[in-house]
Symmetry: C2
Subunit: 417 residues, 2 copies
Amino acid sequence: MTTPWEYRYAQRTQRMGSSAIRELLKLTALPDMISFAGGLPAPDVFPVDAFQEASNRVLKNSGAQALQYGPTEGYLPLREMIARHTSRYGIQITPNNVLLTSGSQQALDLLGKIFINPGDHILVESPTYLGALQAWNAYGAEYVPVPIDEYGMIPEALEEALRVGPKFIYALPNFQNPSGVTLSLERRHRLLQLAEEHGVPIIEDDPYGQLRYEGEHKPALVVLDGQLHSSHDGLYRGNIIYLSTFSKILAPGIRLAWVIAPPQVIDKLVQAKQGADLHTSTFNQMVAYEVSRGGFLDHHIHTIREVYGARRDTMLQALEQHFPSQVLWTHPEGGLFLWVTLPDWMDAKDAFNIALKRKVAFVPGQPFFPHGEIKNCARLNFSNATPEEIRTGIARLGEVFYEMLETPHSSMEEVLV
Amino acid sequence: MTTPWEYRYAQRTQRMGSSAIRELLKLTALPDMISFAGGLPAPDVFPVDAFQEASNRVLKNSGAQALQYGPTEGYLPLREMIARHTSRYGIQITPNNVLLTSGSQQALDLLGKIFINPGDHILVESPTYLGALQAWNAYGAEYVPVPIDEYGMIPEALEEALRVGPKFIYALPNFQNPSGVTLSLERRHRLLQLAEEHGVPIIEDDPYGQLRYEGEHKPALVVLDGQLHSSHDGLYRGNIIYLSTFSKILAPGIRLAWVIAPPQVIDKLVQAKQGADLHTSTFNQMVAYEVSRGGFLDHHIHTIREVYGARRDTMLQALEQHFPSQVLWTHPEGGLFLWVTLPDWMDAKDAFNIALKRKVAFVPGQPFFPHGEIKNCARLNFSNATPEEIRTGIARLGEVFYEMLETPHSSMEEVLV
């Protein structure tokens, strides 16, 4: 039986986006499936013992504080640690520039809440991070896609896109999700310059910046910008709102991330966060602080780089060996993902459906394009599966693509039945 | 120096409400201050040892799962436990009726996101929970206040208010924050009947339902409603969206709460939550499950009831002893708060400013009224301060009120200087 009335949802509920990817990820969790679909860290590198020691220390020494309500801004020693850590890169940051959030996803949601009026234009890389689109769809954002090549956003396209007067620019400069590409240093300077000329702030999303496996570290936009805008009181007051997270360097299960921004933006975010969840778990913040302090994090990041770097290499070698020459892929210098481009006529969703039967999964690329116009791309994650699984899975996937290439387009339906 | 541009915030940013209470709470944290202002549980009753054992067990046995991403709906064993627990009260609930959230504050935010279009009318008790107003202001809610007396929302006023066609009714039936009053059983039935007649869903916020210190347990609206709407498959499909939390029965520092709702509402909330923070901390959910299972929670709630019940009694006795006869207060049967009504001409904000100098703090009642029209009320918390602090603090507060009563109204400014 049903209720005698209908729930009348808000208009924005219609815009929150389909749960297509959610449903798809459920399919990839079947037994024997080798999945390159999720964006999961490898459980092998979770510092479980360090977490256990830290939890015990926090509860023993400060149990009452850890289990009590805390300030919306976050646990002060952790904000101080993040400020110190960021300042190492040559920018002045104080704890008043730092807000702790319940994962970077919450930062994206809060930024949507404080900035986006329905119909506002947001300038995004194309393809871009799906979670940002999902967060901002609910606020009625319209997207202006800027195509990327192997060096990130193409400056000419960026300049053209800025003419619509966007509310902000959303950029993932390092090992972008989903494409794996990194914005070149020259283009970073150009992006900053263009943003400043047009008076448009930049949201810099940097979950993987510390996970580089080859090449030179490139300074974050917030660092380059902070060097331009010096401050008398040590507070950063520039044009960048910078996001990073403990999800990829410690563990995503504690849902802990941070925002670095000018104090006026932090104030608005704090107000929005108070209405959204009061504050992020005190316990998790204190445990993360205990795990991270004393140099553990630097050491641990070194381990992650080794493990993920080896897995990336394994995947790149397997791609060379098993993929047809008509299929192209990016060569990420870090992060968790690489991006595959199939021949124009091929729909990655068809490949996905065939691949599932061969017990291998990935994410078709279409939802990462804000207007969903490109269908022949796919995202592969290389951090979660073991090297052996990567070799087997990529071999299976290669077979799928060879088969599709050998099948006349008109017979694709039979393959898919 | 400032940036060469202005941040252009969204319109809703203007509506997120002032941070007056935030600023006020900072004042109450000064040394030697006896504070009845916050809504903090007593740290004395936090089960620190149980948390430590549970954290160790979770990390030892399931570390990789606890630190990894998890499903947006929440940790299944915890959803099952909540469904079982709720079903004890005589209503059919399945895990598909249950969503875990990052505190009840997040549930309020997500409900605003899926239901409220700008200008929608929301029917609320007057006074009501400030955090709900704060969450829904951001979505452009307009409020229709329904006055309460010692038995909760007044049915005639409710009936009148329903004529505007509200999107939903927001009710805190048990030991309401801020007033401490409980909706009578007769009025619960009347509320359900009126809501059904008008086709308006009810959001039932019940953080304190298990913290009753005297009188008979009153069935939750969701239980009464579930008994009316039987279901062939055990799924609740009624008219109530029920919120409760681990904040008051375990610890608020883990930010863990739950929603019980018809599956179609859960689906929309899950979609909204995915964009808001992906999911609630896996670690905290697993630890809360480990702490709670095996009957610990029933035992622990018994302890909390004894401690808070004694503190409530201490405060009620001290109020009798120290407050002038022109000041009235409620007699809460449970929860954390009682509500003080001063003479009509007295502004509780003035009393607050004088009280601060005498090292005692409370929350002036005005912000709890959606239209801020009533100024002579105050909320007192009795769970956080010790019995001795309660006696001393109430004596100080009594002196403040006596002094204000003896001062001609025209001289109030001098007292406040």
